[in-house]
């Protein structure tokens, strides 16, 4: 019961805090192509909550995972997902493909 209560209060809080939606064409995009992340080093603004599109152009599914960002999401083959990131402190955040750990990249959060 308490969990439901926590969830509901959390949801209300989240809607109160969530930032206005960004225009779809201005979203940062991370592309998976030829079993590599492009760009390998993704620059994002620090201090703001933003949406990140992960687009998989390969015919293999990938699992975008980052314990630094505490994010974990399956990106289907030839599909795309959108996740929320931040607000981040300025700094470097590693991420990788859990289905192919040789595939790695870094988010670099920079202050304005």
């Amino acid at each position: 019961m308490l969990f439901r209560f926590m969830l509901v209060t959390g949801l209300i809080g989240a809607f109160a805090l969530s930032s206005p939606a960004q225009a779809a064409d201005s979203l940062p995009v991370l592309v998976i192509h030829g079993q590599q992340f492009e760009p390998g080093e993704l620059a994002l603004p620090a201090g703001t909550k933003l949406k990140l599109v992960i687009r998989n152009q390969d015919s293999l599914p990938a699992e975008f995972e980052s314990s630094d960002l505490s994010r974990e999401v399956i990106v289907p083959a030839n599909g795309e997902v959108t996740i929320y990131v931040g607000p981040l402190e300025p700094g470097r955040y590693q991420f990788f493909n859990d289905f192919n750990r040789a595939m790695q990249g870094t988010v670099v959060a920079k202050g304005n």
Binding site: L60, P61, E63, L69, S70, E72, V73, I74, T82, E89
Partner: protein
């Protein structure tokens, strides 16, 4: 082949450890084996369905379907672990007493067998769907895949073996301390899963982060190292926790403890009252 084995091992490990703890904690409850086995079977079916529908689930809830599904799965596991622990706080002593008598079983109260089923189901479904997707990917990749399939099978076997070893290790704990130790294990497990769920809800934009990095211990113990992953599963270790994850962790811990206290307290009071009556007679 080794890379495949390691990935499959990591995917299987979480489910294996959770099942080991739950099997240990439900020791002495009649019928648990059947319910856990059913949970594993249904979990595998669920995992395959989730894997097949991966693309559809991803695009649901404007691209947040997966995170919301994961959070829902984790929170239902937390609820079931809570039920289990609260039930054990009322019946654990009796179970321990009857474990000492050979072949005895516990018939009192509503046994949390459905909880066992749901916990195993969701543990297998969550990690299993990733394992199925991964195996599918390497099977579709062609080339040297017989090697990779062998690696995958080896990884699964290794994960199950670790779960089995944990279970055997738990059984070595003296009966006297057994249920209080398994209660603590389940308590920490549930708190860790709740924190994971908070992470997913934040990922979907449904909860604020309340600070992305409350502390950072990645340089001491990376969460992607094997030991880090062990602690992550068992006690919810997060190298770089967000505020909301801490809130969920501590909130879950306190809630379950309070519920256990109140149930355990009621039982103690009743025992006390019975003793009082006995003395008066």
């Amino acid at each position: 082949m080794l890379a495949t084995a390691i990935i499959m091992f990591r995917e299987v490990l979480e489910a294996a450890l959770i099942i080991a703890i739950v099997l240990g904690a439900s020791r002495g409850i009649v019928g648990r084996g059947r319910w856990v086995a059913t949970g594993i079977g249904l979990g595998l079916v669920g995992a395959s369905i989730v894997a097949i529908l991966a693309a559809e689930i991803s695009s649901a809830f404007s691209g947040n379907g997966q995170a919301i599904l994961d959070a829902g799965i984790l929170l239902s596991a937390v609820a079931m672990l809570t039920w289990h622990n609260v039930w054990m706080s009322a019946h654990g002593r009796q179970l321990a007493a009857e474990l000492s008598a050979v072949g005895a079983d516990v018939q009192t109260g509503k046994r949390p067998l459905a909880a066992l089923l749901v916990i195993t189901l969701v543990a297998v479904m969550r990690e299993g769907s990733e394992a199925v997707l991964f195996l599918w990917a390497i099977a579709a990749g062609g080339g040297h895949n017989s090697n990779m399939v062998m690696g995958g099978v080896g990884g699964v076997a290794a994960g199950v073996l670790v779960g089995f070893l944990l279970y055997r290790g738990l059984l070595r704990i003296p009966v006297r301390h057994f249920f209080s130790i398994t209660s603590w294990l389940i308590l920490l497990l549930a708190a860790g899963l709740a924190a994971q769920a908070a992470g997913f809800l934040n990922q979907a934009g449904l909860l604020p982060a309340l600070g992305n990095t409350v502390w950072n211990t990645s340089h001491i113990l990376s969460q992607s190292s094997l030991f880090g992953q062990f602690l992550h599963i068992l006690v919810g270790y997060v190298a770089r926790p967000s505020g909301i994850q801490l809130v969920f962790y501590v909130g879950t811990l306190m809630t379950i403890l309070l519920l256990m206290r109140s149930k355990g307290g009621v039982r103690m009071a009743r025992v006390g009252a019975d003793e009082g009556t006995a003395k008066n007679l």
